[in-house]
Symmetry: D2
C-alpha cells in the first residue's frame, strides 16, 4: 500500500500518516520527491483496509498493491485446487457436467431429469427446493419434500446432488440431502451464510452476484476459505448490464481471469447467463473453450410446463444435441491446453 | 397479461394456451386479427407469474400489464403511508433527518455523534454494530456492545435509533435496541430476512440493492408488507454503474418514481450515494428537492480516524453547514409542493 | 505519474523504465523500498499518456496523479467561466432556462413553443432540425427549413437559439442560424466534430455521452478548449445503466463533481434524463438544487402529436406549473449558496 | 404493433387512436375485452416508429412486435450473407483472421507485423492511421503516411487491409488504401458516416458501440444496408459495464444472438474486449467456439514500445501460440457445426 501526498503537503501532515501506520505495527519507506512525497507501507497491509487515509489532510491518493484476500489467491496456492465431491473431482482438468431443472416439481420430474442428464454425460444433478423469487406470490419451492426427490433421483442414476441453500436456518436440512451447497447470486455477499457453509467443510458452489465484481467474488470465497474450507467452486452466471436482449451478460472473461487470480475451479452457467434456450448451447461450448472446469445447465422434460425459468430450459433433444457438441469441445480443449 | 401468438400460429397452438390459462381458474379474451392472434388473460394474473408462455409453440411474446406487487402499490393504497416510529412521523410531509457514523466505535464516539446530529436537527441516530464488509479481514462491528452504545447515546439526546440487521439469527437482539430495522443493500433480496423483519411489525428501512431495479425493490417491500407490516421506508443509496468517479450513482429519479408507484415514504442516503464527503451536501439538498421524506447521512467527530467509510463522512462543521442548507430547502419545498 | 515495480523486479528492469522516461525529456525520482521500487515521474506527464509501462517487464502498476486535461481543469482556471451568448450570461450564478420541442415540425409549432417557453421564463429556444435516430426509417428532421423556423420563432420572442450540429458538413449551415451549437450524446467523442466546433469560437453545449465517464467528458471539453474556445457548457442528460424504469439514469452528482473539477458551467436535461413527462418537474427542481447553472427541457403544444419524444414532453400547463416551482427553487438556491 | 388501452379508457379515446393509425394508411384490428381494449395495427408499422401513442389519453402501453430494421434481419434474408473482400470470403463457414498493431507507427513496424500476422495464419492486416483518443494530447495517428505503410506491408504479404475511417472528410482518402472500412465503437451511431460508408459499396466492419444495445447495433447496420451496401461485418469488442477488472466486458452471447437475428457475419475482437494481453488467447478461442466468423487481434513486435494499447497486445511468440490454439478450435468447430 502506498500513500501519495499532495504536492503542497507539509512535513507535519506526513508525520501524522507515518504515526498512524506505525500504530498498527507496520513500517514505512519514505520517498521525498521534488514534487510529491510518497509513503510506502511495509508489512501486512490487510490490517489497514479500514483506514481512511484519503480523509487525512495533505493526502492525494492511496494505492493498494496487494489484494485483500489471501487464501483464495493463486499467490498463496500456486497449483490448481481440485475439489473432491465424494470421489468426483472438479478442477482436475476434466469437464464436470451438471444438469437439472430450475425447480424441483415432483419425483417423476426429477427421475426423468436425472435420466436425461445422465444420458448426456452429466455426473451432478441440479434442482432447487428453496427458490428465491422476486415476487412473494411466485412459487417458492417444495422445500424438504423436494430435497428428498432430488436425492432419490440422483441416487438411482449414481449422480451427485447440487442444490441451493438460502439461509443458515435451513443449512443443516439442505446439507443432509446434497453433495454440493450452492450459494445463489443474491447471497454472494451474505457473509454470515458464507461463514456458515464454510464451517460445514462441504463443497460450495459460489455464484457470482448479479453485480458482483471479480474482486468482491474473490473476497466472498475468502469468507469460506477463512473457515478452513478449501472446497470452493466459482460459478459464472452472467452479470447485470444495460443490455436487455439477453437475461444477463455472460462474462466468459471471468473464467481465465479467475484462473489467473485464484486456484479454485470455475464452472459456467449459460442458462442464467443468457436466459434464452437456443443461445445456451453455443455459450456452453464457448464456456468450455474459455477454460471452464465444468458447466451447469437447466433442462426440463417439457420446458413449457416448467414451474420456473422455462424459457431458458433445454429439453431432452436439445440437451442431447448440445452435449455432443460439448464433448467435441472437451476433447479439443485437451489439445488446446497441450500447446506451449 | 397478454399472450401474443406468432403470425403463423395454428389454432391448435392457441388452444393449448387457452387450456393452460383456464387451468389456473382465469378466463381469456381472444382476439383473432388478420395478422396475429392475441390472447388477453382475465382475472388475477399474479398466479401466472411462473408460467413460461414464451416456451409454448407458436408464442411470439407475452406482455405483463399489472405489477407483481400489490400491497406496496399506490393503486392499492392511494394515500401516502405515514410510518410512525414511536411518535416520530416519517412520510407526513415533514423532513426526517438521520445522522451518525458508519460504524459504532465507542460510547464516547456515539455520544459525540448524537450531540452533533441533534444540534443540526436530526431526530434519528444511525450507526452500525454489525458491518457487512467485502473483506473478511476488515472490522466487522462491535455487535451487542455497539448496540448498547447507540441506544444510550440516542436516549441521552432524545433521538430514535436506526441500525442494520444482517441476519435472522441476530434479529431479536437488534430489535431490542433499535427503533428502525435497516435492511442493507446486499440483503434487499434476502427474502427470509425480509419476511422475518416483516413479522416483527417494526419500522423497516429498506435500502435499494446495489443493482436493484425499481421493480425488484417494490417487490422486496411486498415481502415485508405481505407479513402485515406496513411500516416500510425506502432508502435510495445509489446504484452500481460504469462510472467510477463516484462510489455509486445516486439515482434521485427513484424518489418521484417510487412516490408515483407506491404509498410508502422514501429517504435518500447521499453519503453512500456519492462516497466523497464534499459532494454530500449538494446531493442532500438535491434529494430534498426531488421530494424525499428524509435524509440519512454519515458524520464522524474526526472522519480521518473513522474505522470505516471515512472518505464520505462529514465532520461537525461541514454537517452543521449542510444542515443550514437543508433547512432552507425544506422550507422552499413547502412552497414548491403548494403549487398546483 | 508513478510506476510501481514488482517486488522481485531487477535493477536492469528499473533502468529500462528510467531510460524510457528520460527519452521524453522528463526526470525521475527513484524510491528503492525494502519491498518494492517506486519510480516517480517529474515533468509534464501528459506526454507519457500513450506509454504502456504496464507492458514492460517487472512493472506491477502505474498510477496517474494529474489529469490528462488541462485547460478544462479548475486547477488551471480557478474562477467560474461565464459563457456569454450574445449578452446572455450562462454560469454567472443565475439560472438559464432553455425549452422547446424535440423536433422542429413547422413554423406554427415553433412560434407556439417559443411563446410558451418565454412565458414560463425561458431565454433560449431549443429544437432539432437534424435528428439522430436509431432507425433509418424514423423522421430525420426538417434540416435548413427547420433552422429557419427556430430562428424566426426565437427572434419574435427575443430568445436565443440552441440546436444540434451532427456533422462537420452541416456546421457552417447550422452556425448561421443558431447561437449555441449543441453536441449530442452520440457525438461526445466525435473528436473531429469537437475540434471543428472549437474553431468556430461559438458557445458549445456538450452533452454527456450515453456511457460517458466524467473523465472522458472533461477530455471531450478539452478538445474544444484546445482550439481556444472557452465557451463550453456541459449538459448532464442521464447515463445508460441497467435500470429500465426510466429512459436513462439522471446523474445529478455530475453537477457538483463537474463544478469541482472544471470551471465551465453545467446545465441539466431532465427530459432525456428520465424520459417520462411527469418525472421531469421534480428532477428539474432537483437539478437546480444540485447547483446547475440552467435547465433544458422538452415542451410541445400537444405532446401526443409530437413527431418524436412525445412521452417526455411537457405541455403548456405542466411546463408553466413546473416553472413556478423552478423559480421558487432558484430563489432558495441564492440563500443556500450564501451559507458559508 | 399493439396499443393497449387503460382499463377505464373511453370509446372516444379509442377512436382518437384509430384515427391516428388510419391517417398513416394502416388498418386496425380492434379487440374489446372485458377489462381492456387492445388495438392491433395492420400494415407497415415502421411508419409509426415516431408516434408517441403513450402520450395519448387512455393509453396504458404499446408493444412493438416487428423490428425497426428490415434489410439486416434474417427474416428478410434467411441465408448467411458472405462478404467478399476482393476474393476473401467472410461468413462462408471458414474463420477469417485479422491481426496487426493498434497504431501504425512506421513502415518497418508494419512490415514486421504483417510478417508475424501472416505466419500465424491471418489474411487481413489491421492498424490505425487515424486514432480516436480520449485526450487531445495523445498521439492521433500518422494519417495518410500511415495508410501508405499498411497498404505496402499488406501487399508484400498478399494480405487485405482493414483500417478505421473516423469521418466523412477522410473517407475518400481511407478508401483509396483499404479493403475494409472499419467504423469504430464511438461512431456506431454516427449516422451520416454510416450512410457515407454505405454509399461506397465497400465492405464495412461495424464495431459495437461501447454501450450499444443489440437492437441499436442492428439498426446501425440498417443505415448501411439501406444504401444498398450488403457488405456489413459486425465486430463484437466488449461493452462497458460496472466491472473494472477487464477493460470492457466481452459479450460473446452477441455472436449467436446476432446470427439468429441477422444474416451478416460477425467477428470478435478479444484485444479490446478484455484489454489484458494474457486473457486474449482464451477469449479468442472462446470467440471461435461461440460461432464467430473471424477474429481481429492486436499484435506488436514489442508491445512495451507500442505507441498505444500496449497492455493488450500480443507479441510474436504469444500470438503464434494463440494461433495454434485457434486453428485447433477452428477444426473442432467444423465438427460441432456438423451435429444436428
Amino acid at each position: 500500500m502506498i500513500v501519495i501526498m499532495k504536492p503542497g503537503a507539509t512535513k507535519e501532515q506526513v508525520k501524522v500518516i507515518i504515526a498512524r501506520v506505525k500504530k498498527e505495527g507496520l513500517d514505512v519507506h519514505l520517498s521525498e520527491g521534488k514534487e510529491q512525497t510518497i509513503i510506502g507501507l511495509i508489512g501486512d497491509t490487510r490490517k489497514m483496509v479500514d483506514v481512511a487515509f484519503d480523509s487525512y489532510d495533505g493526502v492525494e491518493n492511496t494505492v493498494r498493491i496487494t489484494h485483500t484476500y489471501k487464501l483464495t489467491s493463486r499467490d498463496f496456492h500456486p497449483d490448481n485446487t481440485v475439489v473432491d465431491v465424494d470421489g468426483l473431482k472438479i478442477g482436475d482438468g476434466s469437464l464436470t457436467m451438471m444438469a437439472g431443472p430450475c425447480s424441483i416439481e415432483s419425483l417423476e420430474q426429477m427421475l426423468e431429469c436425472a435420466r436425461i442428464a445422465k444420458e448426456g454425460g452429466a455426473s451432478v444433478l441440479r434442482g432447487g427446493a428453496f427458490k428465491p423469487r422476486t415476487s412473494p406470490y411466485a412459487f417458492q419451492g417444495l422445500e424438504e419434500e423436494g430435497l428428498k426427490y432430488i436425492r432419490q433421483a440422483a441416487d438411482k442414476y449414481d449422480m451427485k446432488v447440487i442444490t441451493e441453500v438460502m439461509d443458515e436456518a435451513n443449512l443443516e436440512l439442505v446439507a443432509k440431502y446434497t453433495d454440493i451447497l450452492q450459494i445463489g447470486a443474491r447471497n454472494m455477499q451474505n457473509y454470515k451464510l458464507l461463514q456458515a457453509v464454510g464451517k460445514t467443510g462441504m463443497p460450495v458452489a459460489l455464484k457470482r452476484g448479479i453485480a458482483g465484481t471479480i474482486d468482491e467474488w474473490l473476497n466472498a470465497a475468502e469468507y469460506i476459505a477463512a473457515q478452513g474450507n478449501f472446497k470452493v467452486i466459482f460459478v459464472e452466471r452472467g452479470i447485470r448490464t444495460y443490455e436487455t436482449a439477453t437475461r444477463n451478460t455472460l462474462d466468459l472473461s471471468a473464467v481465465p481471469l479467475i484462473k489467473k487470480l485464484s486456484h479454485f475451479p470455475i464452472i459456467v452457467d449459460p442458462s442464467h447467463g443468457v436466459g434464452i434456450w437456443d443461445l445456451v448451447p453455443p455459450m456452453a461450448v464457448a464456456g468450455v473453450a474459455a477454460g471452464a472446469d465444468g458447466l451447469i445447465v437447466e433442462i426440463h422434460p417439457d420446458p413449457a410446463k416448467a414451474w420456473s425459468d422455462g424459457p431458458q430450459c433445454l429439453n431432452e433433444k436439445t440437451y442431447a444435441k448440445m452435449m455432443k457438441q460439448v464433448h467435441i469441445m472437451e476433447k479439443a480443449m485437451q489439445e488446446v491446453k497441450a500447446i506451449d
